[in-house]
Symmetry: C2
Subunit: 501 residues, 2 copies
């Protein structure tokens, strides 16, 4: 037993948190005085979530962990590893993970490995890989791992501001998972680049070289995809002898803005086209690509900024995009770029936009990108037997929590409800709030100006930063549970006390 790895390690449960305030991208176009459609059609964004000055990276992660544990009835004693991926650094030394350990106080369980992991939007993926490896390693002691990603993405006023967002996602990791990380199938691309980085430690805003950023993302995508396909061709039996997009049922991407994701699907089709792999696509999908013959001698080199080629491939791959990727962009479009949680928000969006029967047995490809740069492509397999509630082993129902695809997806269904429950604020108010964050986010001896009026029940919020920069938080109470102890549709949850510290 000791030298054998547990099997089917992956995601057992997920929880998503996004801010309760948002701004409309249409109104932001007017407010910013840019050409109509620049943010909405040009970038593919509809709405953008943002935080007031009473939320920070700690409060975001406290909220999502507390909700995941409550909703899935997991005991804090049963967690053996917890790590956080973030680039929202408010302390150069203390980890967000150490702040989250407050949630474990009551359980008395402090034997919980893992700290913070960081490289721009890639930190969450790094944490996920580490957690999976821990479960597969000799250090595993049978307990669950928790992976948390969270970020507040804000930009200086100007062109990039509309590509902000915020949120946090927690994932419970263990064996026999409904979403299995496919073993030995992973391709990374890591290089030195100053495309997007945060060297001004006094500011929440990054320094961005927009053109280099797109170039880095696409180059990483090309490299990861080709390397992933090479590895997958050896590992996975396919109808053709090689692996290509036809072997991936859903393809998810880190999404700084939705239009880049659509271009990424086109780019993958270009990769297949250049390598003659599109010949293995289904008849229908091949038919869509018939107008590409003018590019039969296309190469990947120097094609990143070739507009006619890009346009042609985006058009030709539209059906593939609609089927394999678009359902994953719900949160990316309505909340914006969450940074580390972005890719996992795409996973959550896909899961609540697709029926369980459709999902079961499928392969989900994921491309994670963090500027600087760090990128990986990997895949999830939706396990055959975890799709339907009736296959739950009845002997275990009253024992430990059982994690099926059904339970995983059920836990995410309130996303659509909560998106509608958010408060829309005008661009003027949004701008004022960002100005307030700008002036106050590094202050000691400070109490947030915002009340907790707008935030969702169950949300942790910052109450004070003392003269030594020590931060305290409180939690907005959840409504009382209904008679059955179940969550109600309006976001009320079965958790009754305020956990304040």
């Amino acid at each position: 037993m000791e030298d054998k790895r547990p099997e089917n390690v992956g995601i057992l449960a997920m929880e998503v948190y996004f801010p309760s305030s948002y701004v409309d991208q249409n109104k932001l176009e007017d407010f910013d005085g840019v050409s109509k459609g620049k943010y909405t059609k040009g970038l593919g964004q509809e709405e953008m979530g943002f935080c007031h000055d009473n939320e920070d990276i700690n409060s975001l992660c406290l909220t999502v962990v507390a909700r995941l544990m409550e909703k899935n009835h997991v005991d804090y004693k049963d967690i053996g590893r917890l790590e956080v991926g973030t680039e929202t650094i408010i302390d150069k030394s203390k980890s967000v993970k150490s702040v989250l350990m407050q949630l474990f106080d009551e359980s008395g369980n402090f034997d919980v490995e893992g700290v913070d992991t960081s490289n721009a939007c890639y930190g969450g993926t790094s944490a996920l890989f580490n957690a999976v490896a821990w479960v597969e390693s000799s250090a595993w002691d049978g307990r669950y791992a928790l992976v948390v990603c969270g970020d507040i993405a804000v930009y200086a006023s100007g062109n990039a501001r509309c590509t902000g967002g915020a949120g946090s996602i927690a994932m419970l990791i263990g064996p026999s998972a409904p979403l299995v990380i496919e073993p030995g199938l992973r391709a990374s691309y890591m290089r030195h680049a100053y495309d997007f980085y945060k060297p001004d430690l006094t500011s929440e805003y990054p320094v961005v070289d927009g053109k280099l950023s797109v170039q880095s993302y696409i180059t990483a995508l090309d490299n990861c995809y080709q390397n992933y396909c090479r590895k997958a061709s050896k590992k996975i039996k396919t109808k053709s002898s090689t692996f290509n997009l036809s072997n991936i049922d859903y393809m998810l991407f880190h999404s700084p803005y939705c239009k880049l994701v659509q271009k990424s699907v086109a780019r993958i089709v270009l990769n297949d086209y250049v390598h003659q792999e599109h010949q293995h696509y289904s008849k229908d999908d091949q038919t869509q690509l018939k107008d590409l013959c003018q590019f039969k001698d296309a190469s990947l080199d120097n094609s990143i900024f070739n507009k006619p080629l890009e346009t042609a491939f985006v058009k030709a791959s539209e059906c593939l995009f609609e089927r394999k990727t678009k359902p994953s962009l719900l949160l990316a479009r309505q909340v914006g770029n969450m940074y580390t949680p972005s890719l996992y928000s795409c996973l959550a969006s896909l899961l609540i936009s697709t029926s369980l029967n459709e999902l079961t047995g499928k392969r989900i490809g994921l491309f994670s990108y963090g500027s600087g740069l760090a990128a990986s492509m990997f895949s999830l397999r939706v396990t055959e037997h975890a799709g339907l509630p009736e296959v739950v082993n009845p002997a275990k129902v009253n024992d430990l929590p059982t994690f099926t695809l059904h339970s995983l997806v059920s836990g995410l269904l309130e996303i659509r409800v909560k998106l509608k429950q958010r408060t829309q604020l005008e661009p003027e108010r949004f701008t004022a709030i960002l100005e307030c964050r700008e002036k106050t986010h590094t202050l000691a001896n400070y109490s947030p100006q915002s009340t907790n009026e707008h935030i969702f029940p169950g949300t942790y919020h910052l109450t004070h930063v003392d003269e030594k920069f020590r931060r305290t938080y409180e939690r907005k109470p959840l409504p009382h549970p209904d008679m059955n102890g179940n969550s109600s549709q309006n976001g009320a949850e079965n958790f009754t006390h305020t956990n304040g510290f």
Copy 2:
């Protein structure tokens, strides 16, 4: 094969870098006008290394990785994972790991997992655990992992300044290692504490609550040690039915200053004493403890600041300290606190202070502590067969590098030479250099004022920070190798070209 883990995963090779400038702690006592012996006897420190303004966390890590690869003749293509543990944050988003990827450019290998991991001085241990788990996981592809820890530890002028230091350590990780991480034997203690943290992002200096810091360290030690012994009692056959200090041949600690380490040995003896485990010590060791009968009813509660008890246990455990721990404090005493590399500097110091025959087959206990807080106790086993060069498989000698205890320790022997080659600077000069760092460490459009006159050959140094905060580095050339292509005793190395970017 696929679901079976590789065996004896651990440290194959190590490389240590520390600054070439240091200040004498005796002179610092005079300069600071404190009572004689406060830093030297009171804290147990002799000298302190420090960096000029032309070294930063990137340059420290570039140097140690380049040297490890050269000295051990490892090809950059053979690295599949690289991660960095640090709390010296100079960018909130871009990882140090991404900077290190420049070293891989020539090899064309960019499929290298891992980013940065951070929680005060614990980041390196987190990176080590992640690397070992990766090798043991299904994601492993047969290549080596590289773990890098580095930090520049500086404090505001005053009481704490003398507890600074700087350095970096790289470790090559893989199976069949001379230093095996004992599988399934690990106890962690993670909690929320504001004992030492860095909330002022504009400053290199931490905020420190000295008393809480000692209390947190000792509480973490108590918890990790007891939990480790509980786990070890189940896993390891010992003469007595339980596990205690007599089952650990060498005991290493994170060392903010050497006196705390000596007190930690005493604290472990107190733990054993309270639980009656000292009865399993050797006759000689038991005899040393005979004066402790006045504390026969001692408990761990409220004893952290009990001075008479502490003094008695420090005295009674002196022989144990001399034998099991003191040989590990060479670098901690002469370079100071390196933060993340501190614990691994203790390992390197032990290895070059003890004969290979003595080391072989022994268990080395390690206690890693990072404020905030994150702590773990784990152990290394020096493998029976890797101790002597004659057991190297001759068939492999001309093939891949072979890593034995002999080769590992040989690579570290220049530490003593380099400690002597350093330049001693007067406290006035040291203070001026820290003031210069204070004013310049966050600047854009800046070139360091220091020349590379003092730094060791083979060291990377910062040459410029441009107007967009982008940093460039150059490497001080190594002397030409001697006729045999070997490193010479004076620090000359078999690497001839200047690698500048």
